[in-house]
Amino acid sequence: MLQEVFCWWFLALAAIPLFGQGPATQFVSAEPTPSVTAKRGATVEIPLKLTIRQGYHINSNTPAEDYLIPTVLSWDSNQALTAKGVTYPKGEAVKYDFSEKPLQVYSGAITLVSRFAVPGDAPLGPAALRGKFRYQACNDKMCFPPRTLPVSISIAVQ
């Protein structure tokens, strides 16, 4: 009995570095976005590159069925940047056993382009903006509750 308890305890400890990502494991990761330089009064477009874990997919921004949870990128606004909209990539049409028609999903690497306005009175110098990438991931056997991935961009206002 003692041997068994020790064995599983040791196994659990050993597994932490490999799988210890907590209950809210992310299925999407974001590449760091290089800082962008923009002038006061300008509009800038900033791409955000994301990678979806192999073997999983997430719904596109416009999934084919109402019941599916769309992928949404939202940004806070601050004195230096005002979010003006996001352009999402086109989803890939994939037919699953549970759906009568193909669904629009993202898998692999995707890029979303966000547009920002820099107010005429924006403070000069570096600024950062935080955003939330909300998605719902599945593979062919299981689905996971919606997740929110924090993202950020940095800008230098001139």
């Binding site: 050993a14 490999l18 056997k141 299981m142 996971f144």
Partner: protein, 169 residues
């Protein structure tokens, strides 16, 4: 995946196998170690409170699902069939939706799918009591003594479910 990760994973698999071997002599005790299914009291679509204890003495299949979960939609017609076939022999399915939209989202689905078993709206507290349900579908099979005798995460074969139900009835 890098080589170091694969080596570490291989070591863990070997260790897990050793642990399983260590456990083998105690296999006869397995039955005694089944966990009792946590009690819950949730409202159905008609506002009636449904408790797990209402099903005392029955074989119960508690299915955590959501309307946005594709694999769940494959299993639901099977569960409707099981409910029809085994209801009179002391069996029931209980569907617990984890939809954030509540009944506004779930009710139309239940009606369209003609779900013939109790459907309830779950919450994080209940999911946590059941071990932190973070994969859908997750299905717990509970025996007549109220013990969780099987847990299935993800799409499972219809035969696996049905074999377990028959064995327990």
């Amino acid at each position: 995946m890098n080589t170091r990760f694969l080596l570490a994973l291989a070591a863990l698999v070997i260790l897990a196998s050793a642990c399983t071997s260590a456990k083998r002599p105690a296999a006869a005790e397995k039955e005694k170690n089944y966990r009792m299914a946590p009690e819950f009291a949730l409202q159905d679509a008609h506002g009636q409170t449904v408790r797990l204890s209402d099903f005392k003495g029955k074989v119960v299949m508690v299915d955590f699902w959501a309307t946005w979960c594709g694999p769940c939609k494959i299993e639901i017609p099977w569960f409707i069939e099981f409910q029809r076939k085994y209801k009179d022999r002391g069996f029931s399915v209980i569907g617990i939706s984890l939809d954030e939209g509540g009944w506004q989202t779930v009710r139309p689905f239940v009606e369209e799918a003609k779900m013939n078993y109790p459907v309830l709206i779950g919450n994080d507290e209940l999911a946590s009591k059941y071990g932190g349900v973070d994969v859908l579908p997750t299905t717990f099979i509970i025996d007549k003594q109220g013990r969780i005798v099987a847990t299935h995460q993800g799409l499972t074969s219809k035969d696996d479910f049905e074999d377990t139900i028959k064995k327990l009835l």
